[in-house]
Amino acid sequence: MRKRLGDYILAFLIIIMLNFFLPRLMPGDAISALYGDALMEMSPQTEAYLLERYGLDKPLGEQFGLYISNLAQGDLGYSYYFRAPVGQVLVGALPWTLSLIAISLLISALAGIIWGVEAAWRRGRKFDRASLVTIMLLNGVPGFVLGILLLLIFGFYMPWFPISGGASPYMDYSGWEQLWDYLQHLFLPALTLTLVQLPRNFMLMRSSLLAVKEKPYIYTARNKGLRDRMVRYRHAARSALAPVITRLGMSIGLLFTSVLFVEIIFAYPGLGNLFYLALQHHDYPTIHGCLLLITVCVLLFNLLADLLNQKIDPRLRELDARQLLERA
């Protein structure tokens, strides 16, 4: 495990370095990149002033040191579009995205795993075949189309749910009312994200369990007279879980992409929306901050998946989860 943690720290360092060096490797100079086309005509004095102000005249090494120390203090720069420090802007958006991701991840994982187990256990029978058809259909619909469809159906034609935002504006709710309002706004985006992730989780769990189902230990378990449900979940599903969880961790990056679309569709005030706005308005410090935060989030979720896996499957304490995935 110590080795694994080392890997993560190394990955984190590389990400920070990339984040620092990439914009400096991009074509064009930093000032025009920072201020975009708005200030095409700039006097040399202004440019020199700006270079000095942003510390761009210093050697690269010193710049990097400065960057790191700023980062350590939580200083990610200043967003001129939102007119606030980038750190502050991100912190405002992060909880929305995180709750969206966490809830959809949890529900899609649970549903996918249980559904996958039940389908695999009844392989080739009606339930399994119906499940496969449903999942295939669901898998065929891209996330943003699904979001728009849900928005139209449940927000527009049948206005059961609010169609935009993370909370009702200008309402002074408190306590349970606020929570209810929050949940109502969360429902459709979370559902969309859940449905987007479900097919993969289902297919993975199903195939993983199909492999485990024929393992001798399942017969041993059945042979000692355990209830079918016990065999199915305690013995089979648990042993089949490792590849699924590994994949879940690895898929977090993809999930952020989906979040981007979903938040834009539902005008949800999270990181995705923020990123979209920042892109539209060439708010480079914010874009930078978003990217950094998202990569760190992905890394953290991966770490979490690894830890969870080792908790569930003792074999992984020595073996790599990916090896197990290949074996399965």
Binding site: A221, N223, D228, H235
Partner: protein, 625 residues
Amino acid sequence: MLEINNLTVSFPVSHNHERAYQHPDQAPQNVQPEASASQLTVLNKVNLSVQTGEIWGIVGESGSGKSTLALTLMGMVGEALQQGSIKFKGQELLENSPRCWEKLRGSAISMVMQQSGEMLTPTLPLIDQIMEPYLKLYPRQKETAQRLGSQLLRRVGLDESYFYRYPHTLSGGEVQRALIAMALITDPELLILDEPVSSLDVRTKSDILNLLTEITAGRTVLVISHDLHTVKRLAHRTAVLYCGAILETGPAADCLQEPAHPYTRALVRAYPTLEGARELQGIRGEFPPLNQRPEGCPFHTRCTQSLDICSWQRPEPVEVGRTSLEHTSPIGNGRRQIACHRAGVLELLRCENVVQRYKLDKKQANSEPGNNYLEAVSGVSLTLREGEVYALVGESGSGKSTLGRILAGVDRPYRGEVFFQQQPLHKMFGAAKKEQSRNLQMLFQNSGEALSHRLNVHELVSEPLQIQKIGDPKSRQKAVRKALEWVNLPVTGHFLHEYPHHLSGGELQRVALARALVLEPKVLIADEPSASLDASVQAKIIKLLLHLQNERGFALILITHELALAAKAGDKVGVMYQGKIVEEGPPAKVLRYPQHWYTKTLTDTDTDRDLLIGDKTIPHPKSAG
């Protein structure tokens, strides 16, 4: 305790060849209760009755249905069609609902399954898995379960350090021990062990066997194994399964030492032992695949003594009284049953109390007064069964050849009786005599003198056919060529027209052998068949004889003075000394643990051994007292 009656289990031919086990829930509910063409019958009318406290060993080749039998008893053959009845303590098991099976499994009947890779769930610590069956029965007694689990684990040799280990850190032997503990935790009334040691290495195997011997004492157990040694070691009684049918049942030691059914004997013969110097013999033919199971007696396609009836009528088990061994199992009676139309391995030749004596002339008689006769053979009894090689060993002058001549019907004994296929040999006349001489051939010691020098090879070999009036000249020629090919002689026209004096000693011996074999006899009595041959030719001829024995079931009495040869070729060795058979038994036993002093001197004077272990003085028995 357990009564299995006419149990037939067949599997539907599935499209996707999934494994046999399926959950009972998934079994098609309304199948036709008759086996159709799309069914593969794995067990065919199996009858077995297990009493409380008995340990039964089920033996058979892989594919014979052993494991299916066990899984049927556990209710784990979900999709299979099961007919007949299994009564466990009076309760009919085949009518059980899946729920009832779940209740029974792991509590009243436990099974240690055949090892095939990951036998334990990788995600749970060992002791949790051991406790599960108990917790299923008594869900609230976690402490008792823990206590029992640790006790049992210790008993099977896994101490505290193992309790919370995960299966992937355990070796095969440790997993096997854990599985045994798991099966025992509910103190089941019936324990089934499916190949308990077959996947283990020799050391672990013997450890586990010791453990099993200790644990199975006093229990009702079904041991399933292709390993005869395991069964011999653990079981009181044994049932031999072939193609889903039980061919022989009886006390384990008897069945596996003196097999009565041809199949059991073939199985025993194919089984390697450390003691055996004898060549291993595979069972002739191939094990029939599931979809080509023969009608009638399932073994008839590979049996050397099958009759017409064997191919269409299924033999019913009948009792046989062959309990030549003194050993009887402590539990259960000594009853033996076999399912064979021919009542087991046939007896071909038997002699009782045969005495042969020659009158001595006066000069010789005087040396020992009052004794005018030399008893060359004095009171020998022996039995030769179908497909058996009886090696008669002894020094020259011990009466071997004389006995051989009597057994072949060449000489008439002074006293005693010889029976060939249950008929008195020396009271045969006419057609019966002719038939007998066709089936009972003798190969004489000095082949050079036994072959007429006036006849060429072809005439020599075809003469017996002429005498027996078998076939026309053309078919005889064919038979001659075949016989010569058997003995590795050329069949060119040139060779066929050679006369005995043109041939070498080895060639002569082989011509004599071809002459004996051309009639395809049932019994051959070969008197020193290889004495005059070099080692290579001797090896070839012995191999040929053993091959014929395996393929055609013919029996051989091999008279030799060479112990090594007797050990290599014989199923049974008889040691002759001064006209008596002083010791008889399986070669390994006779040569390794000789009981009679004479045999001891024989084994000690074995020249090869002298070379190996150096000179050694042999105390003479008489001087030693």
